[in-house]
């Protein structure tokens, strides 16, 4: 049993520990190792090596036994993850199955997880819009949550830092509400999308339709080639893992970069039970890990701990890190840990057709679409609801086949499809207001297979969310009418919170230790060598897809941690 390497405290001691290897953990690993810190990266799931462990990446549709569809038994055994749009025969190996990690839904909540090296960075939708000050100032202006302790100016250089490395395609659109960044060439919009953008400019002041900025290498630069990544070829099979490294994932980018420094130790199959706190030193000293293969309990030690387990799991770890100093969870003097959870409201969409541009269609594919930045309540409060929504917008023309009949007639129709009309579609991405009642906490009795308490999740929509949805439908119907679209159909898409996969908060940042958990550097106010930089740190949600902001906050906090480490303050 005795393993001298593992058993020696020295060999289990690092400068820094990063809990989680997903989109933010990957960034913590890169920044810390690059600056010379010996860093242990803990991942609860298995290792996934770039390219080698993407088993379906190069498979043609006809090579899948069920052509991408999941067998009924898999769908029945996994009602939760089966609701995720990206879960199918081609990607299922990157998703946590429902039975693998149970949780308690006090209210219906779809918790979609990817337990492997790289986490959900393999599966994300790769949309990367910056926040503006209209987002950071939101809670203070509108009187909800608490004021963010940072402003756009604090994070802007770090947005640039991560954008240059990750590779973000986009146009410099010059919009105050959606600041420009360090962009590679944007993916093009099509005729109907640009037409709609023009209609908005002419008829709806302050509303815009732009090429959605995304983490794809439209034109790789030396820094990307150095990572071993290549140009995105618009395969649009991203969730299988990209053999080209055409989009940003921890696996293709930050983790191999951290590995090259020689300073990273990556330990898969390591479920973090809790963070160790030393009452005498007044700081965290390490983490307690359960090896998911051997069930062995192991402690690792470091001066700096980054918590990047994924929003709700970061909450869980802190809640489970109890000591006589922190009986209610690490850093939880004010009792707010696990509270003010928020998410994005994706519960509506709208579709239509357009009869113009019959002479045009599209050719090829692209990994992104159009984006309508938030236009409600941006510069001042102007509606009866708080905040607003951004929206995806895309137009497309498909080959369509009349499948009636049989025999040579049917065969001829199948082999000679006709171009259908231009169709347009949009979906809402609404900001939700963090509330104390939307919370997670530990169950007092039930435990998971590693002996860790199950998480109870209690999160729901509210009246503001319903008003937002109604307004989205009204405004987009009006804009679609004004653009001359036909067959306009608003769709109600009821879905539980969580399915947006943008769960945020619970360990929010703020200025005041009485009303927040983290300071402006993402340090726990009362345990300064613990940094939380994944979605758990979010004070409010804005409307933008959040990963880019997690990445920038992580890089910023990691560089601060390195400075403090150098000054022997940590």
């Amino acid at each position: 049993m005795a393993n001298l390497n593992i058993d020696s405290i020295k060999d289990r001691t690092f400068d820094a520990i990063v809990i989680g290897s997903g989109i933010s953990g990957g960034w913590a690993a890169k920044e810390l190792t690059e600056k010379g810190l010996k860093t242990l990266v803990l991942e609860r799931g298995r290792d996934v090596r770039h390219i080698k462990d993407y088993p379906t990446a190069n498979m043609y549709p006809f090579e899948f036994e069920h052509r991408g569809e999941l067998p009924l038994s898999v769908r029945k055994e996994n009602p939760i993850v089966n609701r995720c749009y990206a879960f199918d025969e081609t990607t299922q190996h990157f998703f946590v199955k429902d039975h693998e990690h149970p949780y308690i839904q006090e209210k219906e909540f779809d918790w979609i997880r990817g337990y492997q090296v790289g986490g959900r960075s393999l599966l994300w939708a790769r949309q990367t819009q910056r926040w503006s000050n209209y987002d950071f100032e939101g809670p203070a202006r509108d009187g909800f949550a608490v004021d963010w302790p940072i402003r756009y100016e604090d994070i802007a250089p770090w947005y640039s830092h991560v954008e240059r490395f990750a590779g973000i395609a986009g146009n410099r659109d010059g919009l105050a509400e959606l600041p420009d960044g360090e962009f590679l060439p944007a993916f093009p919009l099509n005729a109907v999308e640009e037409y709609f953008g023009k209609q908005l400019r002419e008829k709806f002041k302050g509303r815009h339709m732009i090429s959605a900025r995304c983490a794809h290498l439209s034109n790789p630069q030396p820094i990307h080639l150095e990572q071993g990544r290549a140009q995105c070829l618009s395969r649009t099979l991203c969730s299988r893992g990209c053999p080209l490294g055409g989009y940003y994932s921890s696996n293709s980018s930050t983790l191999p970069w951290a590995e090259k420094t020689g300073n990273m130790t990556l330990r898969p199959f390591s479920v973090v039970h809790s963070i160790l706190y030393d009452e005498n030193k007044g700081r965290a000293t390490g983490v307690r890990v359960i090896d998911s293969n051997t069930k062995e309990d192991i402690e690792f030690y470091a001066k700096i701990i980054f918590v990047n387990a994924g929003s709700l799991n970061s909450n869980l770890i802190l809640l489970n890190s109890t000591s006589s100093r922190f009986p209610n969870g690490l850093g939880n003097d004010n009792g707010l840990l696990g509270k003010y959870i928020a998410f994005h409201n994706y519960s509506a969409s709208i579709s239509a057709e357009y009869e113009g541009f019959k002479e045009l269609t599209t050719d090829g594919r692209r990994p992104t679409g159009g984006y309508v930045p938030r236009f409600r309540n941006v510069f001042r409060q102007e509606t009866h609801f708080l905040r607003g929504y951004a929206a995806g917008f895309s137009a497309y023309r498909s080959m369509e086949t009349d499948q009636s009949g049989f025999g040579t007639v049917l065969k001829d129709k199948l082999l000679n499809p006709r171009l259908g009309p231009w169709r347009v579609g949009s979906h809402m991405m609404g900001e939700t207001i963090p509330k104390e009642s939307n919370h997670v906490r530990l169950d007092s009795e039930q435990k998971d297979p590693w002996g860790i308490p199950l998480l109870r999740i209690s999160v729901s929509y509210d009246e503001n969310d319903r008003k937002l949805k109604k307004d989205y439908h009204e405004q987009f119907q009006e804009m679609f009418h004004a653009a001359g679209f036909t067959n306009i159909r608003p769709h109600d898409q009821p879905r539980a919170p969580g399915l947006d996969i943008h769960e945020m908060g619970g360990v929010r940042m703020g200025k005041d230790p009485k009303t927040s958990l983290l300071n402006k550097w993402n340090q726990l106010h009362t345990c300064k060598n613990v940094f939380v930089t994944d979605g758990a740190c979010m004070t409010s949600t804005a409307t933008q897809n959040p990963s880019l902001t997690y990445m920038a906050l992580t890089a910023r906090a990691a560089n601060y941690a390195v400075e403090e480490f150098g000054k022997k303050n940590l």
Binding site: F62, S73, P188, L360, G405, L415, R418
Partner: protein
Amino acid sequence: MKRRSAIRHLAVIAGGIALLPSCIGSGESASIQLSQITISPEQEKLLAEIAGTLIPETGTPGAKELGVHLFVLKMLDDCYEKGDQEQFLQGLDRLEKIARERYGKGFIGCSTAEREQLLTAMENNEGLPEEIATFYRIMKHRTVQGYLNSEYVMTRERVYEMAPGRYNGYYPVKENIAS
């Protein structure tokens, strides 16, 4: 090497489903491994003929030649509720009975015109028993899907591009595909 590539070719023709040597020649079960349903070699042959009538050989392979009926069976076995599976098999038997009643022979023995009459009745859902409607709904949907997603069609007819590497949002419509 030649034999191996021939086997692979056969597997590909079968719509990506590997044929299992253990079943060949047993004479009692289908040529692919199924876990929920049981299919006799006669039923399998019958399904191949129906698939071939739905999408016939016309100088290019049809659904039967591409082994699409085996894909239909695979999907029926793995992706449907028990009730649908039972109705499918009952519907298949019922169809065979109707063929015998009307034409004095099974579907396989029917002439092309007779087969087409039977399919027309199913296509138009002309007062046939419910199980036949279920059978036809699944059979047709999966035959069309399996055909369109076969290697043959995806590499030679409606070519699937793995990595287009381009997007043109103003591509002129070619006349022969205009609606």
